[in-house]
């Protein structure tokens, strides 16, 4: 499938996830997206962050929310912003919706990052190409950032300094950011040297859209329509 129809389909799924309040629909979307992400190389960080984010929302949002009549558990009174630590059926339902929605959106981003050919997307867009190119470069450099982090950790371990705990890892943040800035400057220099920003440019010919591409666009429109109408 071409990149642009794939992106449209993904945006449609994300729109439905944002629009619907149905736990069943959100669970179905999350399940399908999980299966899709699990088939992609480099999936681990996206599966973990989506799962962690969703679980955190599900566990903590009932504790800070204060509504619903069907109280399942009442705990002690804590200082602001917590107040009474109580959990109601309504709060759990809302927490499930929020958690599934967040997980679905994170997984959709995972598919965008890992499963879509950004080169072709940049080529196919008629607007915001520079922004898309910047996003594509940022995504391409994510593994480089991971390698830099691993390199920093190894460099410290190589001197007998173990990187452990929040403080240990926090020490890596500043050099990682500084390293990324250095890389971005070098890349900007290289792009300028390769004629980027010269003015008129051409595009290498790309394959025309096939039946699957048009089918994906139709499905995307259908999903948005159904999602908005049946919310």
């Amino acid at each position: 499938m071409s990149a642009l129809p794939a992106l449209l389909l993904l945006l449609a799924v994300a729109t439905v996830a944002l629009a619907t309040d149905s736990v069943v629909a959100l669970a179905a979307i999350t399940g399908i997206l999980t299966v899709l992400v699990a088939r992609l190389p480099g999936r681990r960080i996206y599966l973990w962050s989506a799962g962690f984010g969703g679980l955190t929302i599900f566990l903590f949002s009932p504790l800070v929310a204060h509504y619903g009549a069907d109280v399942l558990w009442r705990g002690p009174h804590l200082p602001t912003p917590f107040g009474w630590l109580d959990v109601t059926t309504e709060e759990i339902q809302t927490a499930a919706v929020l958690a599934l929605r967040l997980t679905a959106l994170a997984l959709a981003f995972g598919i965008f990052a890992l499963g879509i050919d950004h080169d072709r997307l940049v080529q196919g867009l008629r607007f915001a190409r520079r922004s898309m190119l910047a996003l594509a470069i940022a995504l391409r450099l994510l593994p480089t950032l991971q390698r830099d982090a691993a390199g920093l950790t190894e460099a410290l371990r190589g001197r007998g300094v173990e990187v452990a705990g929040v403080r240990g890892h926090a020490r890596l943040l500043a050099p990682l950011v500084a390293g990324s800035l250095e890389r971005s400057l070098s890349l900007a220099e290289a792009m300028e040297a390769r004629g980027f920003g010269r003015g008129r440019r051409t595009q290498a010919p790309r394959p025309a859209w096939g039946g699957r591409d048009w089918g994906a666009v139709a499905l995307a429109l259908l999903l948005v329509g159904v999602g908005v109408l049946w919310r």
């Binding site: 050919d117 470069i137 001197r159 070098s186 900007a188 290289a190 390769r194 595009q203």
Partner: protein, 460 residues
Amino acid sequence: MAVARVEELRFTYPDAPAAALDGVSLVLEPGEVVAVLGASGSGKSTLLRALGGLVPHFHGGRFAGRVVVGGLDTREAPPAVLAALVATVFQDPEDQIVLERVRNEVAFGLENLAVPAPEIWPRAEAALDALGIGELGGRAIATLSGGELQRVCLASALAVAPQLLLLDEPSSELDDDGADRLLGEVAALARDRGTSVVISEHRVGRALRHADRVLFLEAGRILCDAPHDEAVGWLAAQRPGWVEPPGPRPARAFAGVPVATLDGVGFAYGAPVLEDVSLSLHRGEVVGLLGANGAGKSTLARIAAGLLPPQAGRVDRSGRACYLAQDPGRHLVAETVLEEVALAAPLAAAREALAAVGLDGHADRHPRDLSSGERERVGLAAVLAPAPDLLVLDEPTRGVDPPRKRELARLLRAQARERATLLVTHDHDLATAVCDRLVRLEGGRIAAVAAAAPVSRLHR
């Protein structure tokens, strides 16, 4: 007609105390392969950037004199315009690749230059084929090795059919044979097409093998600009350290105490990388670990230093091990040079280590304010300061000029008695100068072990 003409070029980077280029003049003719030699900071990279228009357009600074490339004055034509005439390959491929797929990456420059659409794919394919990497066209960039990435960058440069090709350490990721082959191919292609090539290389022998003409820069000035044979004569007479190896260390029998013993070590990243490797490292000896890219050298070095547990066999180690990875300048974490070196060592030892690598005047500076060569020396000081019993160095001379290489050789020899040292290197001269014993890995197995003297037997 000349491809490029530089007239009395003087350039100073913003806030720099001294000029990076000082009165440089030269003319580049079509089809000429020119090697630019000089120590780190001598102005080699700045000269390449001036020829591509990045100096002064991208970097700013004070620019005097004139650079004309293909009839365009670089003060008036920005780099993006000059890109139709000049292609540059920078040292680190990770810092110049834009797109995710090899074929798209090679086409990127052609698209920027508004090459007619029907010509783009054939030209991209031809450039990949010319460098023997046609089969990589459909691959994702993320799956390529460092050497493959460098070839992709070169293909991207060749695809635009430049009049002037600028190569800044273009083979730093390759072993000797691979780098030699690559430079040979590029030089042949350039001569066929009438492209002028300027190569900045620290591995002097390799640059000299492929150059028609040599420039030697020092403190921003051209000290020598001569045809190959004449330049070799000048170097031998005026800068002998650039053409003579550091000198072989006399081989000696060794009977020190083992600091680390690897017995039947095996490791695999999916495919086997090391198989049944046994090696002892004794206090007082320097062992050189040689082999082509992918032979398993870095994995073995990590296992020896205790950073990676072996999947088969065992490692016995006594005392402290320190490991210096490739490209240590990228892996500095502290706010000052002294703090960096003292992360795992007392302050006094850190100061001593800084003095040993010639950086004692830089203790209070931020590591990222230093040049790349100085950063690498900070990394070296940081593994010397803890006084390890086993020191493992992975390619410590990549991108290091011959004078610094000599200093490193002297330092390692002077301190050899204090520890066992494992030196992973592609650099035969350094290995011969420093090592007592050479171990050659091939396909994850030890193929040869010898005293340092008969190094040629190990390599050819």
